[in-house]
Assembly symmetry: C2
Homo-oligomer: 403 residues x 2
């Protein structure tokens, strides 16, 4: 008897038929003598529909009330899935975050899980019930509802798996697992049988769209066995684990991220503390800044360019505009017409020539590089949005990642 | 500074425009230096839509999971109303039943409020916030979500008013108040400026559709000042209060109830305990039986006829059929083609001739009476459904209740 946490996303529970499909997958695991905790997202477009409804009333609604509104989507899908499992004759109960005691900080709309009181779930498991938990939501110390940000249900699942000491946390999605590149862009992209937490982290945050990156962080921290697999077909998925020594590939995958905007502060005074001023300001507004490039100062002036998620662009421009004098930039430019393309692999840092090979692939394809950023296990370039898919294919070919 | 509880129904918050209408009504009260607690129902058809969704998956879903599902409707509307009030620049917070501590029994789908912990609301009122509370929902001792049955938001509002010691509980609805009869049936029906709890109770349970009857029971028990008024126009409503001595009208109103089915048990053995057997059985299945008539036994046999809400008919027939031998009836007849028409007024019991006048009105209109039932303050007759509106008009005229 093992305890398995299974997470199903919004597409997997979009209608009655798919809900029964999920119910059957859950029951199969339950009937194989396992305890099962299921985490569900809101059905299909529910969250987007609710956001629309809120915007119609107040585009600047408080995040607290947005979270109250959005959290209802998961409560609906957990009840509907419970009803399907009841129909199939298995004991089941659905629980919201406040019932489970899924405690977060008070950063509404993007809260972080602090701890999970597992006792209510354990009580229900002891009664041999299938337990369904609403993903994406938590409660803070004021007993108010919070949400974990887009894709937060993955994090809910991993946090529950960690708190309950689950043997396995399965993330069901609409792809079979993690690929060397997005199969919609690169037809011969290959599925990976396993991948390390670090690689998965870079891929998730780079727009591979398979796992929410915070869920991978939590899984790594608590050493949760994670598997990404298809909710539609029965096939082995990709296992995410601590040490990756099975496949010796240098570059594990190519990812593209379109959710990126670039801002340039042109002709800043070349005095110390400029970067601190700018990014301190943005941090105060909880903006996630990604790639940062600062040009070498000449003639007493310098430029700073950086990228942020598209959704933060308006806030960033607003903040910069309001503090224009303090920052002292001549121009503030920005563009949304940009993509980030990255290669990821744990072996990269200790291997020379990986970056050169990537740049060569782009040169051969006639693609201009805007900005470059590197880390231990990844190399990212910013290029024109219209070149992004071509770039992914060229790099994927160059490193022979395909089948 | 007074504390006022205001309740708005589903029609009042059906779309963005109406939500702002409600927000303005609330703010008007708040700006007149009052503390305001607002209770909202789910938007328009939300509850019906959710019921449909559940039926598609499992028509026999557990009531616990139905309550989890249905309670999301009120959580959505409370958040949306909060956003509208935020937009209009007043401090506001929305709270669900579990946050308010609105404790009920565990009779899912039709739970009764046991007590309300008002401290969270008081804390928010002390911060001078407008507090919005989800109607219709509660939590039981297991920390599970319950719902209070159709129209339960009225009861939520009155229970909160009682627990918080509110000066006034205003129930906003789509009519101006309580009338001597349904104005859609009787064009010259007159609005009452006040009405006693007892009269209101009879009218509510007799299908006047203005207030949920349990809300009136709670208001009477805790002596809550209740006012029924229009959410659409600004006009004085009808005050429901303990003693009614302002208007000296004998008959206060005429009500029609179409939500009624009649069951007849024909040719029962005329032995003691029959009524106990039948109604004990129905009570065990939580069926509300209304009018009961037993014919005088002759020839060793008797008939028992009674009425139940339409929604209970299938269950009742099922229960009776399963216990046919025990009951020992020759036939079990039933009809849905029936209406209950009633007159209500506190002075009736001590006045002779009221019943006779009512029956005369029906005789003059050529309407046949099926069953008669009387209490201290009401007289009800069961008649053919097609005669019901005519009957209401005839009685209303006979007692000169109109303007």
């Amino acid at each position: 008897m093992a305890l398995i946490v299974q997470k199903f996303g919004g597409t997997s529970v979009a209608n009655a038929e798919r809900i029964f499909n999920v119910a059957n997958r859950v029951i199969e695991t339950y009937d194989s003598d396992n305890d099962v905790v299921v985490v569900v997202s809101a059905q299909g477009d529910t969250t987007d529909d609710l956001i629309e409804k809120a915007k119609e009333i107040n585009p600047r609604a408080s995040k607290r009330e947005m979270d109250v509104l959005l959290s209802t989507g998961e409560q609906q899908s957990m009840a509907l899935l419970a009803m399907a499992i009841e129909k199939l004759g298995r004991p089941v109960i659905s629980l919201a975050a406040w019932q489970v005691g899924l405690a977060t900080d008070s950063n509404y709309s993007n809260a972080r899980i602090k701890r999970v009181m597992g006792n209510r779930i354990q009580t229900e498991l002891d009664k041999h019930k299938i337990v369904i938990v609403a993903g994406f939501q938590g409660i803070n110390k004021f007993d108010d509802v919070t949400t974990l940000g887009r894709g937060g249900s993955d994090t809910s699942a991993v946090a529950l798996a960690a708190a309950l000491g689950a043997e396995l946390c399965q993330i069901f999605t609409d792809v079979r697992g993690v690929y060397t590149a997005d199969p919609r862009i690169v037809p011969n992209a290959k599925q990976l049988t396993d991948i390390s937490f670090d690689e998965m982290l870079e891929l998730a945050s780079l727009g591979a769209n398979v796992l929410h990156n915070r869920s991978v962080e939590v899984a790594r921290k608590y050493n949760v066995n994670l598997e990404v697999l298809s909710s539609l077909e029965k096939a082995p998925g990709t296992v995410v684990k601590e040490v990756n020594s099975v496949e010796k590939m240098l570059v594990r995958g190519v990812a593209r991220d379109n959710d990126v905007a670039r801002i340039s502060l042109v002709n800043l005074d070349n005095t110390p503390g400029k970067a601190f001023q700018v990014f301190g300001l943005l941090a105060k507004h909880k903006i996630n800044v990604d790639v940062i490039i600062q040009s070498i100062g000449r003639g007493g002036k310098k430029d700073i360019s950086f990228t942020v998620p598209l959704g933060s662009l308006d806030t960033v421009l607003d903040v910069l505009e309001k503090n224009r004098e303090l920052i002292g930039a001549e121009h503030i430019d920005h563009t949304e017409n940009i993509s980030k393309v990255s290669i990821v692999g744990v072996g990269m840092a200790s291997n020379t020539g990986v970056a050169a090979t990537m740049f060569e692939a782009l040169y051969d394809a006639g693609i201009n590089i805007n900005m470059i950023s590197t880390s231990e296990i990844k190399i990212s370039v910013l290029i024109d949005k219209r070149d992004a898919e071509r770039a992914v294919r060229a790099i994927h070919d160059k490193f022979n990642l395909g089948d």
